[in-house]
């Protein structure tokens, strides 16, 4: 089987699992316990935090472990600014997008900024809005999970803060962390990351936050994570996250060029049946295309029978089967209908890419012939 749905999740790294194994056996203690074993696991969590923060040069930042990227986004959106005007864009993952809809339901001012054709935020529209409105909170994703478009969040944050330094700026970095070389700037207040997108486990995420930024917790209880996220820590999951991030950051340049070549192989060799939606400047880890005239879900299933796993962005329904994000990029319905997302990891090989392109091309030809 060839797995090209790495933006959905990645295969846990064996060496990271083995390295963390003792936290599932000998070092099983509750990190809140005051005896030696408990203190030792608490220390390990602290080490993991410092290590993860160092990956994006986060000096002057804290890290709160959560259960997933979605929880991190929610904590950022609902935990800091209590009322006011909230701004995001049409391309956000549901974790942010639907949280903003919820803010709207609760009576806050909410503004969704439009997208460019590649799925990146329309910066001018954003700046214009911030100039002419009193904005309190902005959330923008670093790498778009559907198109791979990269927002230059540091420069956007800098310009935003120059207009209004009081705005709290959150970045959903789930598809960027461990993949794109990046150092967080002091203009960014909050940054969400997730473990299972970088070959660690599902069930662990984190919110990186500027020190001294007041945040109120969504989950109350035993006071773990400095009271900001109660609940006994998932020590094993946290350590696997740390170790997997070591592997990713040790190889970040090589990985980047490797997946870039794989992505280019697809772009160069996919047949004329496809429209390429991702731009050349997008993250090399994500390539979104459309098999115009077919339904993305049907293409996905047909490829599945040939042992090629790709994603189709969003769940499909007969009434509302289009991806909200690709639609916001301004594509017509026949393009939207055929969207599939091919997403890569460093474990993918060029041989897999060559084989997959060939099968994808022939499968789509076949389906078009059948459904003509």
């Amino acid at each position: 089987m060839i797995y090209f749905d790495n933006a959905a999740t990645t295969k846990p790294d064996k060496s990271a699992l083995i390295r963390a194994e003792k936290f599932n056996s000998d070092a099983f203690y509750n990190p809140s316990a005051l005896y030696q074993g408990g203190l030792a696991t608490a220390r390990e969590i602290k080490i993991a935090k410092e290590n993860l923060l160092s990956k994006i040069g986060a000096i002057g930042f804290d890290l709160i472990f959560t259960s997933c990227g979605t929880e991190s986004d929610n904590l950022a959106i609902f935990g800091v600014v209590k009322r006011g005007t909230f701004v995001t864009d049409m391309g956000e993952h549901s974790a942010v997008y639907k949280s903003f809809l919820e803010l709207k339901n609760r009576g806050h001012n909410v503004k969704f900024i439009g997208l460019n054709k590649d799925g990146s935020i329309n910066e001018e529209e954003l700046f214009d809005f911030v100039k002419s409105n009193s904005v309190d909170f902005i959330s923008i994703m670093h790498v778009n999970n559907e198109t791979g478009a990269i927002n230059d969040v540091n420069s956007i944050a800098k310009r935003i803060k120059a207009i209004n330094s009081k705005i709290i700026f959150h970045v959903d970095g789930v598809q960027a962390f461990g993949k794109i070389r990046y150092n967080i700037s002091k203009d960014i207040d909050l940054y969400s990351i997730s473990a299972h997108k970088i070959n660690a486990l599902k069930g662990v995420g984190a919110l990186i936050k500027r020190k001294n930024l007041n945040i109120s917790p969504l989950i109350i209880g035993g006071g773990q994570e400095n009271g900001l996220r109660s609940g006994t820590e998932n020590v094993f999951g946290i350590k696997v996250f740390e170790y997997a991030s070591d592997i990713h950051y040790d190889n970040i340049k090589d990985n980047y060029s490797k997946v870039s070549e794989i992505k280019q192989c697809f772009i160069d060799n996919l047949s004329d049946d496809f429209v390429i939606i991702s731009s050349n400047e997008s993250s090399p880890y994500i390539l979104t295309v459309s098999a115009v005239g077919l339904r993305g879900e049907v293409v996905m299933h047909a490829l599945e029978t040939k042992c090629i796993i790709v994603g189709n962005g969003s769940a499909c329904s007969s009434k509302n089967r289009f991806s909200r994000v690709i639609e916001a990029c301004g594509y017509s319905s026949d393009v939207l209908d055929g969207v599939i997302r091919i997403s890569f990891s460093p474990e993918n090989t060029m041989d897999e890419a060559i084989k997959a392109v060939e099968i994808i091309n022939s499968t789509v030809k076949e389906l078009k012939r059948t459904l003509k």
Binding site: R295, E297, V298, A302, E304, T305, S318, L371
Partner: protein, 386 residues
């Protein structure tokens, strides 16, 4: 302290004459099967059944199970005491501790040796209740807020209860033969299945899957719906037939407007053959007259004409809104509306024929190797026991 019991009453079976024993036995078996695994005893008591010796915390679970057994009309949770006026009186007074408003006592005395008689017993018990709760309770024999039923049986036990819980009624599953339900994943077919079980027909289910045109998620949804229908059927078998090649063949060889009509004809043929193999006597569909193009009388005539087995259409004269009401009641609605393609929607033509002419349909069908395609479909049939 009194014991607890659940009294189970059945409805239409009372109308049966010499066959009554057969129906009662079936119902008894169905109840026993449904309560398997729950620690309780089950017994028969003059035209009703009793569940006793259960843990109090299992009560809700038992009631939920009983509410899904066709043939049961009502159930009541009763306190069981000895046929002794003082014991009965204590129990009745106890049961009124959290009640307010108006009440009456309704005594039924199967044990005719018990004195005083029914009227006098009711009056005595009513008096006892008023002695204690005169401030919050009043008697109203015509239109009471609640009734305390006292059922004095011959075997020395008296059942005292206030509430009657209505179940689904109908006939015991298995009493009306066996049928095969075509289940699609939409709102209608699970409702048709439920209504069929309710009238006592034992069901198997058949689903047509069109991978890759429909995905595994669509199949999972059908499995979930079938499982829910199965709760009324005492378990159920789902047969999944791959419909992909048949759809492709029709699409390739026949006019677009007959796509759905021809698909329905294939489905009916496959259903009849499978039903016969399984010992079934009828095909059940969720069709409702005129709801969609394939459910006009012309379309139904066309699909019906390829089978000789009776085709039961419980929903044929139901409005969609009424079907949705039932689907909510049986908890299939939320699953049915999950947004996955089902096999009917993928090859949907832009303008399906609403009144297919049988002659033209048969002419179009003649371009296909009907028997061969059906044979092929039967080669890869999948059985899922739920």
């Amino acid at each position: 302290m009194s014991n607890k019991a659940i009294i189970i009453r059945f409805c239409e079976i009372h109308l049966k004459g010499k066959n009554r024993g057969y129906f009662e036995k079936l119902l008894k078996e169905n109840i026993k099967k449904s309560l398997k695994g729950i620690d309780c005893s089950f017994s028969v008591l003059h035209s009703r059944y009793l569940v006793e010796n259960f843990d109090e915390f299992d009560f809700d679970l038992i009631v939920e199970k009983l509410k899904k057994i066709p043939g049961i009309h009502t159930i009541s949770k009763a306190n069981v005491v000895k046929n002794d006026l003082e014991e009965i009186s204590n129990c009745v007074v106890d049961m009124c501790s959290d009640k307010e408003g108006t009440f009456k006592v309704d005594t039924n005395r199967a044990d005719k040796t018990f004195t005083p008689n029914s009227m006098e017993t009711s009056r005595y018990l009513g008096g006892k209740i008023l002695d204690k709760y005169a401030k919050k309770l009043k008697v109203d024999v015509k239109n009471p807020d609640f009734t305390i039923y006292v059922d004095i049986r011959e075997d020395g036990k008296t059942f005292v209860y206030t509430d009657v819980i209505y179940c689904i009624s109908g006939m015991p599953v298995g009493s009306a033969g066996k049928g095969l339900l075509l289940i699609s994943g939409g709102i209608d077919s699970p409702v048709a299945g439920y209504l069929t079980c309710k009238r006592g027909m034992k069901l198997d289910c058949l689903h047509f899957h069109s991978f890759p045109y429909t995905g595994e998620a669509a199949k999972e949804k059908v499995i979930e719906l079938t499982r829910k229908v199965g709760e009324y059927n005492g378990g159920i078998n789902l047969y999944v037939v791959s419909f992909t090649h048949i759809q492709e063949a029709i699409h390739k060889n026949c006019p677009e407007e007959f796509m759905i009509t021809l698909m329905r004809r294939f489905m009916m043929r496959i259903a009849e053959r499978l039903a016969k193999n399984l010992g079934g006597q009828a095909i059940i569909t969720g069709e409702s007259l005129g709801q969609v193009a394939s459910q006009t009388i012309e379309s139904i005539t066309s699909s019906n004409s390829v089978v000789s087995m009776p085709v039961l259409r419980p929903l044929i004269m139901f409005d969609k809104i009424d079907i949705i009401d039932i689907s909510r009641k049986i908890d299939t609605y939320e699953t049915s509306i999950l947004p996955y393609e089902d096999c009917c929607t993928v090859f949907l033509p832009k303008y399906p024929s609403i009144k297919p002419n049988l002659e033209k349909v048969m002419k179009a069908e003649a371009k296909l190797h009907v028997e061969g395609l059906i044979e092929e479909a039967f080669l890869n049939i999948e059985k899922i026991s739920l």
